[in-house]
């Protein structure tokens, strides 16, 4: 297999429609034409999949050959002359369309795809206006349910096989296939099975006709009524780029918006179909205040002033330290920054944390403490270059699905080696060589063995001896772990990814191991690199940590108890910050830590990403006199609250998230806020002003400007610079 960058590409010159071009050897004719801005019609061709030549739409004429050729399967040759619009090429294209339409029902007026359909568009552009096929068209029972999200209309299908190729080649889930042969071919699943791949929804988007439609979306509108506005998916920490399909301030659909450094143009079903909370009838539309035991609607002014008054009262009575704040990892960077500033400056307490929380802070401190050039910080694009990928205690397929596609691409298309250290089987373990399986909770053993092999030169026999006594903990042989050790120390470009909930000791051990390998390699191997990352759990888990939504750290991992670094914030905020160590979220949630917490401010919704994970919020009201919650619906925590602020989803506000690969990505308001809901940053500004502190931020951009001056890794970041592809943190 070729590795990009290792091979000098020969240049091939050819002429397409009278225009000369030189392209790298191996380029397809259809791609060379595209570089010249020449359109060749197609259906089955897809730049990310192997060519098949199934639909025959891309017929072009080439000098010296009697028959037309398919531009999507033919690679360029030196001196080739191609004609895409000669009489014979156009006739070929027209005839193919006439064939493709022999059984297609042309039911565009009732088809979801009508208006954004390549078959419709190409028929208008290249097809015949009439058909010579006057015989009856085929009729099929429809629709056929392929899986939980997808319906198939066999009459509309033109057998381009994009869907089956995607599910096999890209997703690694060959659950749909071509049944029968010739004109009897149809797409289908095996009886009793369904197309339940977590990536199934992509096939709806790449289907060039209306054959695959979304159960959620079908019949909900016509494309010319829609607007597609850019956004970022918040269903996990990958941060896939999306387009919201909107009609009259309602989200109807989520489509992919390709960002090569993030999602490669794909989405998982959790992201694609996880938007129903946004326009849910359960959304809160006005603030609520608890009166006579029940939550009743109130105006914003009333709710803000009441909340401010209660916070002031409790501060006077029990002190600043009696107030705590817990933010959701779905808050934007700006909101997280502002929330911790509010707690530390306006309230005067370090009782600020986020929940649910992973182990990300450890890796941040480890990187900060090591000299700069040793290890690379992980970015998704490193997977495209890696020779070896080592996954430690993480189920990427379940937790960061779209990253799993990038991994499969590295392994299946590029031949990268995958080693997995995990107690359980995942979708990726079948590609792993080897898979080091350990007993849950015993993950330190293999790491220690690897350390001995790689850093101490232990031989296979010694490992064999060692494993003997540990037969309980290891389900792997000495040979496998030795093999893995050899691969790790011999690899030139390695990506090591750690799970979010691994024990501290293991993260330290992995960091030492990775540093050790780099340290060992010396100068003769300066092309060697190791990229190390810890994959966070939720939409902005990385960001809220970077922003100091943590009792121990100010933004940028500045320890609250170190006078020197803290002074920078005290100067900028013109305030002497509280020094006392704050309480963690778990401590605050657990009955207010024996009465230490009298008022608790829980900011941000658990939807969409937090809710889908296995976290259960264990909030006890005892001891807490005042509970303030901002949320999008009347969630369990909102139900318990004294005041509830209705907040916006990320489709209704501006902000930035920092993804699991530490890429900062911005998004803008796509629909107007539901009811009287406000963004959390606006709520914080209003509350701070009410409490006598001028939080005069007019936009998220003002907040980001402040962040960029205080947090070194965010230095220089601003909204114009973020653009539509985001910025990778150093």
């Amino acid at each position: 297999m070729d590795r990009a960058g290792e091979r000098e590409f020969k240049s091939i010159s050819l002429v397409i429609d009278g225009k000369a071009i030189s392209v790298p050897e191996g380029t397809l004719v259809i791609e060379a034409a595209r570089m010249l801005g020449i359109e060749i019609p197609y259906f089955c061709y897809h730049p990310k999949m192997d060519p098949v030549g199934a639909c025959r739409m891309c017929l072009v004429e080439t000098g010296g050959r009697a028959k037309l050729i398919t531009a999507c399967t033919t690679r360029v040759e030196e001196g080739m002359t191609i004609s895409t619009d000669s009489i014979s090429a156009r006739k070929g294209q027209k005839d193919v369309l006439e064939f493709l339409l022999t059984n297609h029902p042309l039911d565009c007026p009732v088809c979801d795809k009508g208006g954004e359909c390549p078959l419709q568009d190409n028929t208008y552009k290249y097809g015949p206006a009439v058909s010579r096929f006057t015989i009856n068209k085929w009729g099929f029972k429809k629709p056929v349910e392929l899986g939980p999200y997808i319906l198939l209309d066999r009459e509309r299908c033109i057998m381009c096989m994009r869907c089956t190729r995607f599910s096999d080649e890209i997703a690694g889930h060959p659950q749909i296939g071509v049944i029968n042969s010739g004109r009897g071919s149809e797409i289908g699943v095996m009886h009793g099975q369904e197309f339940n791949s977590i990536f199934s929804g992509n096939t709806i988007e790449i289907c060039p006709v209306g054959a695959l439609t979304s159960k959620h979306f079908r019949f909900s509108g016509r494309p010319w009524e829609f607007k597609n506005r850019p956004g970022i998916c918040a269903n996990c920490a990958v941060g896939c780029n999306i387009n919201w399909t909107i009609r009259r301030h309602e989200i109807l659909r989520v489509l992919s918006r390709e960002n090569p450094d993030v999602d490669d143009g794909w989405l998982c079903d959790r992201g694609r179909f996880g938007y129903t909370h946004i326009n849910s009838p359960d959304r809160l539309t006005s603030p609520l205040i608890k009166r006579n035991g029940g939550l009743v609607p109130a105006g914003w002014d009333e709710a803000i002033s009441y909340a401010a008054q209660r916070l002031d009262e409790i501060t006077l009575k029990h002190g600043n330290e009696s107030i705590g704040g817990i933010g959701s990892p779905t808050l934007t960077n700006e909101e997280a920054y502002l929330f911790q500033k509010f707690m530390r400056k306006v309230v005067g307490s370090n009782n600020i944390d986020h929940w649910p929380k992973g182990n990300g802070a450890i890796i941040e401190k480890l990187f900060e403490g090591s000299s700069k050039n040793d290890l690379r910080r992980f970015a998704y694009s490193h997977l495209d270059e890696a020779d070896l990928i080592f996954l430690v205690g993480t189920d990427i397929s379940g937790e960061q699905p779209v990253l799993d596609l990038r991994l499969k691409k590295a392994v299946r298309k590029r031949g990268a080696r995958l080693i997995i250290l995990h107690h359980g089987k995942t979708d990726l373990t079948r590609y792993s060589s080897p898979w080091l399986k350990y007993k849950e909770g015993e993950e330190m053993l293999p790491i220690e063995l690897l350390k001995r092999i790689i850093l101490k030169g232990a031989k296979e026999e010694e490992i064999e001896e060692e494993i003997k006594g540990e037969a309980e903990a290891a389900s792997f042989s000495a040979r496998l772990v030795y093999e893995a050790g050899m691969a790790l120390s011999g690899s030139r470009r390695t990506v090591i990814l750690l799970g979010n909930n691994l024990p501290d000791g293991l993260i330290h051990a992995m960091f030492d191991l990775a540093s050790g390998i780099i340290g060992q390699s010396g100068e003769q191997r300066d092309d060697q690199w190791i990229s190390l990352g810890l994959l966070m759990g939720h939409a902005n888990s990385q960001g809220v940590l970077d922003m100091g939504l943590d009792p121990d750290y100010l933004p940028g991992y500045v320890r609250i108890d170190l006078d020197g670094p803290r002074a920078r914030f005290e100067t900028a905020w013109r305030y002497s910050l509280p020094r006392a160590k704050g309480l963690s979220a778990d401590e605050m949630l657990n009955g207010g830590n024996n009465g230490a917490i009298r008022a608790l401010f829980m900011m941000g919704s658990d939807q969409p990403s937090v809710q889908s994970s296995n976290n259960t919020l264990d909030l006890k009201r005892e001891g807490i006199e005042f509970l303030l919650v901002s949320d999008i619906t009347l969630s369990d925590k909102a139900r318990m609250a004294d005041v509830v602020f209705p907040s916006c989803t990320h489709a209704e506000k501006d902000g930035t998230f920092t993804n699991a690969g530490r890429r900062v990505q911005s998004f803008q308001k796509a629909i107007r806020p539901v009811g009287n809901s406000l963004s959390e940053w606006q709520i914080l500004c209003n509350l701070a002003i009410e409490m006598g502190e001028p939080f005069n931020y007019l936009s998220v951009s003002d907040i980001m400007d402040e962040i960029s001056t205080l947090v070194p890794s965010y230095k220089g970041i601003n909204y114009p610079l973020l653009g539509d592809k985001g910025i990778q943190l150093p």
């Binding site: 060959p174 749909i176 296939g177 071509v178 042969s181 095996m190 009886h191 009793g192």
Partner: protein, 166 residues
């Protein structure tokens, strides 16, 4: 598929297992052995039931649909039980020109079954197939492994008679 076939299990005989080992040795990739294995399974089970296809998928590390795709592609694989005699009548160009259609109608009427069906006594199944590569002797049909050429109604009568009495 019927419920009873879903429930049924299938396993290769010991002899077939030895043969599978040999077959798989011929290919660098497991999945290349799919067609030979389907033939073997059909020989053992008479036709490719769902449990059979699932079992083959398991043996070759494929998903069931990957086996199903291949099994439905080729007319020589049977997805339903077939009679003792499988009659495959060619209806491609040469045979059609030489009267395949009326031959097929005659067979249907004579046996009282439609294309793809099996007589109640499990003796005959009729299938139509594409070119059997014997255009010079059209119309042609294949009964199990034997060709019957230059067919007429009389020849068909005689053949069916003979097969019935076997």
């Amino acid at each position: 598929m019927r419920e009873d076939t879903l429930k049924m299990d299938f396993a290769f005989s010991e002899e077939a297992k030895r043969e599978i080992k040999e077959i798989m040795g011929h290919y660098p990739e497991k999945r290349s052995a799919l067609i030979p294995l389907l033939h073997l399974a059909q020989k053992e089970n008479g036709y490719l039931s769902e449990p059979v296809m699932r079992h083959v998928a398991e043996v070759l590390d494929l998903t069931p649909i990957q086996v199903y795709e291949v099994a439905t592609f080729y007319s020589m694989f049977h997805l339903k039980p077939v009679g003792k005699y499988l009659i495959q009548v060619c209806h491609n160009l040469s045979c059609s020109l030489m009267g395949a259609d009326s031959l097929i109608d005659y067979l249907k009427e004579k046996l009282g079954i439609d294309i793809g069906e099996t007589t109640p006594d499990n003796m005959f199944t009729i299938k139509t197939v594409e070119c059997l590569a014997s255009c010079g002797t059209a119309p042609v049909m294949q009964v199990n492994d034997d060709y019957h050429e230059n067919l007429t109604k009389e020849k068909v009568d005689a053949l069916i008679e003979r097969l019935r009495s076997n």
